[in-house]
């Protein structure tokens, strides 16, 4: 006995997509190439985004589009365009409530307890591929609130890096449109931003713990020196790397974390088949990868 699949009440075209073997093949291809997975409830997103690319290429069927992604000379560029389409608009403040809750209610208490044993009272966080700054600023607000409330003798610092110099400039400027702050309640908007017309400028106090730097994750020399982090975030960046580059970069992240530290990917990204040194840890409504503690040491 079992529960049958109840088809979602979606428009007919999307309903048909769920049974289209080519779309399932496309989902598997994207997962294999990038590590981004679309479960059934996000299938419509994949179909919608793929259709935008298909329209640009005047392609009618998913089967034809798969051919363009796998056999045509410009396949790498097209895969990049599709991944851009899939991840577009994914950056805004406090994007994942589950992740924010897990950080403040589980990970910060756990990491502070571990570091306390060694006499350190500073949390170190790295936002790798910080794009236009929403992620590091969210972390600064979150950690600032948590530390002020519960760990008054602690401090924290955030390193925010991106390959793109323009992104770093935008981060430093700290000016955001309504879209970026739409998940923030009015209390946080007033406390951490100054409204300038239709825009919101981040306060200096939120900026202070963050150091913005341009960094190429493929720069092996610099990556070797990135050490001692409690938390590392790398959201929708690895998806553009090939297998070898991905493994090498994740290995740097692994070594950059303290034992027991956590590594976060994008919501739909996984490390399956790429890197197996991390432990996959389930947190309420979300998941992260943890660098294992030495044998015999347990998480507080």
């Amino acid at each position: 006995m079992a529960i049958d699949i109840i088809k979602p009440t979606a428009p007919a075209a999307i309903d048909a997509d769920l049974s289209d073997p080519a779309l399932i093949k496309l989902r598997d291809l994207i997962y294999r190439m990038s590590g981004i997975y679309h479960p059934d409830n996000k299938f419509y997103l994949l179909a919608t985004r793929a259709r935008l690319r298909m329209k640009a290429l005047s392609t009618v069927t998913f089967a034809e589009y798969i051919e363009q992604l796998t056999t045509r000379p410009n396949r790498d560029a097209e895969m990049r365009s599709l991944l851009n389409e899939i991840t577009i608009g994914e950056t805004y403040f406090f994007r994942s409530q589950a992740q924010c809750d897990a950080i403040s209610k589980i990970l910060v208490p756990q990491l502070t307890a571990m570091s306390s044993k060694q006499g350190f009272k500073k949390l170190r966080v790295w936002s790798a591929g910080c794009s236009t700054g929403e992620e590091p600023y969210t972390l600064s607000i979150l950690l600032g609130e948590q530390i002020a409330q519960n760990f008054a003798d602690w401090t924290f610092e955030i390193l925010a890096t991106d390959l793109n110099e323009n992104s770093i400039t935008k981060c430093r400027e700290g000016l955001y449109a309504e879209y970026a702050v739409r998940n923030l309640n009015s209390e946080r908007r007033q406390k951490y931003f100054k409204q300038e017309g239709a825009f919101f400028r981040i306060n200096e106090a939120v900026k202070a713990p963050i150091k913005f730097e341009r960094l190429n994750l493929q720069d092996q020399t610099r990556m070797l020196f990135m050490k001692g982090f409690d938390l590392i975030f790398c959201c929708n960046v690895l998806i553009y790397f090939d297998g070898v580059a991905k493994r090498r970069t994740v290995d740097h992240f692994f070594n950059g974390l303290i034992p027991g530290g956590y590594f976060f990917l994008g919501e739909c990204e996984t490390l399956f088949g790429i890197y197996d040194q991390f432990r996959l840890v389930h947190l309420p409504g979300t998941a992260a990868y943890q660098r294992p503690l030495p044998e015999g040491v347990t998480t507080p």
Binding site: A2, I106, T270, P284
Partner: protein, 306 residues
């Protein structure tokens, strides 16, 4: 279970057998559940459904709901059975039967939340069993569906104390089973096992009910216990728990149940757990629709106050 609590608990649980709301359909239904769905005859199901007027009406309502998009309304039990299929009928029957055991005012965990968790766990256990090639995925489904029978027992036999248990668990974000042990001195595994034995549920299912929170100490090598333990844990971490967040980090692969299960099912070692977890998120939508359809406001079992 403590020896002083045991006789008192047994006394209270045994009262359940004489509850007037225990539906006549239950025993034949349990017989039916022991068979693989393809060996169940439609006539048997129609007969079973006809026992209970409220269940028959409920099935007609579900068959005629937007979920199934029939062009002509189903007007007979046969038509409802054909529309819903044997498996869905069994889901509705089992949830309705057990829900009927508990009067509205005695539900401690909201019935919608309880059944979302039970159906969620059933579905996850079946998918999990299939992926690791356990062998009897339908049995894993049934074990997942019934694993928390003890929560119904505790709601009935210890209503007041159980409300306190739930309130404390919600406040602290602790697993319900830990709070039960601390406050009551026994858990829903203990009380569920007593009821399962009284009702003579299959031995493998009774073992799951009794040991799914204590796999390490189980005297049995029944792999279903580990499957349900892990499925239950996954559901609780992904929004199909008891309506509150358990604030903890869970490393499933370090869990003793995972390690023990890997010996039975070597496929477990190569499982893509991250992808499986994401798939689970899409079940939430499915399960919520099913439970909302079964327990829509027109039904006599409504949301209970906490």
């Amino acid at each position: 279970m403590s020896t002083t609590v045991m006789p008192e608990l047994r006394k209270r649980v045994e009262k359940l057998r004489s509850l007037p709301s225990s539906p006549a359909v239950l025993q034949p239904l349990l017989e039916l559940l022991r068979k693989p769905p393809d060996q169940v005859e439609i006539n048997q199901v129609v007969k079973l459904v006809s026992y209970e007027k409220t269940i028959a009406a409920q099935l007609l309502r579900i068959a005629n709901s937007a979920l199934y998009g029939r062009s002509m309304p189903a007007e007979s039990i046969q038509a409802a059975v054909f529309t819903l299929g044997i498996q869905r009928i069994e889901d509705v029957l089992i949830s309705s039967c057990f829900s009927k055991l508990v009067p509205k005012e005695k539900w401690v965990v909201d019935p919608g939340v309880f059944w979302r968790h039970s159906f969620g766990c059933a579905l996850v256990c079946r998918e999990f069993a299939e992926q690791i090639e356990y062998g009897d995925a339908d049995k894993a489904y049934l074990a997942g569906l019934l694993h928390d029978l003890g929560i119904i027992v505790n709601s009935l036999a210890y209503t007041k104390e159980y409300r306190e248990v739930l309130a404390r668990a919600v406040d602290t974000g602790r697993p319900l089973v830990e709070q039960e042990q601390e406050t009551l001195g026994f858990t829903h595994c203990d009380s569920g096992a007593i009821l399962a034995n009284t009702w003579q549920l299959p031995g493998t299912i009774t073992e799951v009910i009794e040991w799914h929170h204590d796999v390490e100490n189980s005297p049995s090598t029944n792999a279903l216990i580990g499957i349900v333990h892990l499925g239950d844990l996954l559901c609780r971490m992904r929004g199909l728990g008891y309506g509150y967040g358990e604030w903890r980090a869970v490393d499933l692969e370090a869990d003793p149940a995972w390690i023990a299960l890997a010996k039975h099912c070597p496929k477990l070692k190569n499982m893509d757990l991250a992808r499986f977890t994401m798939d689970l998120d899409s079940y939430v939508v499915r399960i919520t629709k099913l439970v909302d359809t079964i327990f829509s406001p027109s039904q006599e079992v409504s949301t209970a106050e906490r």
